[in-house]
Point group: C2
Chain length 285, copies 2
């Protein structure tokens, strides 16, 4: 964050945009009310683009791109917080990141799920303050205020107790939703993950779909020099017409093994209020 | 097929295995009864492996591999017909194809959907009688006998009216389910599609999921020298909480355009009884 050691607190100005699907206005209102209580030094700026609707998306590709680029290039903002996932960031990430300038580089970027497309593209482009963690839309979950407070704790204070508890200083990390990352392989969005511990999570996928995605992901990453894979929460698994016969950890372990990737155990990320912060890149000692 | 121009009809022996999910026995019985009437010169051999169940799959990875390899390497068989899709062939295709010998090379292979993993791996390995078309499980559809008869027309007679009607002699083709092919990119299963017209179809995917897969697929194939893409049927699209805003053809056209791939129009393949035959590779003049 911009002024952590100042005794006179300058506002931390956080621009919020929706690169995927729209945020309900009442969710934004609840986040503003909460932040006013818990993080009075934060100034949250919800771009009106967050509330646009065009088919599936929070406005057209152009509108979502322009909103993100304008906020990221605004030198008066300290951080970009993604409002919500869904689907849509893959359609704009490459073109959006190409339009960023120097003042975009110093900002914190925070989000997860479909926003992983932007996290990946930013990290690939050399942005070093990119992090996987809760979004404004998490206010809608039961006890969602915990997730939102954690996000603001990271953006405003870079509080270390917001971090995923298994992270080790001196190692490199990246975190993604499985299906999001699966669809990024081989495209201009996926960053170089050599020497990284990759942390993954999933929601609302059949176990056969998770297995298929892990086949793809581990096959594609096998030669990329990963340090290993850790598995976050896999939630809301739809019931299929018959049981798959393996749980998510067994699936992950098996695909890691058959691709000579180290499986490093579980992790506290996921589509839930426990979703902890994973900064991309080297966790500085 | 083995003896199309013989006036004394030798039996065409067709080995049937299930590389993905199990086939109901009564489906096999119905296919046998139909074939006895319509294709008396065909001898259909359902491997008992078709009826095994292990979790999601028609037996273990080993059992499914062994069944396919044994049938494919059996010199007394003329063709391998895949029983059913679902999911599972990606787990065995690479290891299975590595075990094939010379007598496997002269056979016809027919299937679609998840069996595309084997079609792709076989074609990649130089097998030149691989085709996308109906499977035994299609007997379960309304008027499913039409699909089964078409499959047998191809395997037994290589009847040209079983072919997808838009195919042109002298051009190269391949056909896949979108999600199956999406998960094959970057793996050792996807064949070289240079100069090919790629025909794709999809079932039971949300339109945002189709859009995401087309982002991945077109991004990955953009530099691979495709001749173009044709779109088959996109069926059973689940209803989302809001309309996507574009139909499958508009989605396909847009991703083709942004990746400089020619969009060549519609095609008669899909998860339905109209699913026509697409032989892989050069359609001989």
């Amino acid at each position: 964050m911009a002024q952590g050691t100042n005794s006179i607190s300058l506002p931390v100005r956080i621009g919020i945009c929706a690169p995927s699907t729209p945020l309900p206005r009442e969710a934004a209102d609840r986040v503003l009310a909460l932040a006013a209580l818990t993080h009075p030094q934060a100034e949250l700026i919800f771009d009106p683009q967050c509330f646009l609707e065009e088919g599936h998306f929070a406005g057209s590709d152009r509108q979502r791109t322009d909103s993100f680029v304008a906020l990221a290039n605004d030198p008066s903002l300290d951080a970009i917080w993604f409002a919500r996932g869904g689907y849509g960031a893959a359609r704009i990430a490459e073109a959006a990141v190409e339009q960023l300038d120097g003042s975009a580089k110093s900002k914190i970027y925070l989000g997860y799920s479909d926003a992983g497309n932007l996290l990946g593209a930013l990290y690939r482009a050399g942005f070093d303050r990119v992090a996987h963690g809760p979004m404004a839309s998490d206010i809608g979950r039961t006890s969602g205020d915990r997730a939102v407070r954690r996000a603001l704790d990271w953006i405003v204070h870079e509080k270390s107790d917001a971090l995923e508890p298994g992270l080790e200083r001196g190692r490199k990390y990246a975190a993604f939703n499985v299906m999001t990352l699966t669809m990024m392989t081989g495209t201009r969005l996926i960053p170089d993950l050599r020497d990284h511990i990759l942390i993954i999570e999933e929601i609302s996928e059949y176990l056969y779909g998770l297995d298929r995605a892990m086949f793809h992901l581990c096959s594609n990453l096998a030669e990329h020099g990963l340090n290993g894979i850790r598995l976050g929460n896999v939630s809301d698994i739809p019931e299929n017409d018959r049981p798959f016969g393996e749980d998510p950890e067994a699936i992950t372990r098996r695909w890691c093994q058959s691709n000579d990737i180290a499986y490093l155990g579980r992790s506290e990320i996921g589509h839930d209020v426990e979703n902890r912060i994973v900064p991309f890149g080297l966790l500085k000692p």
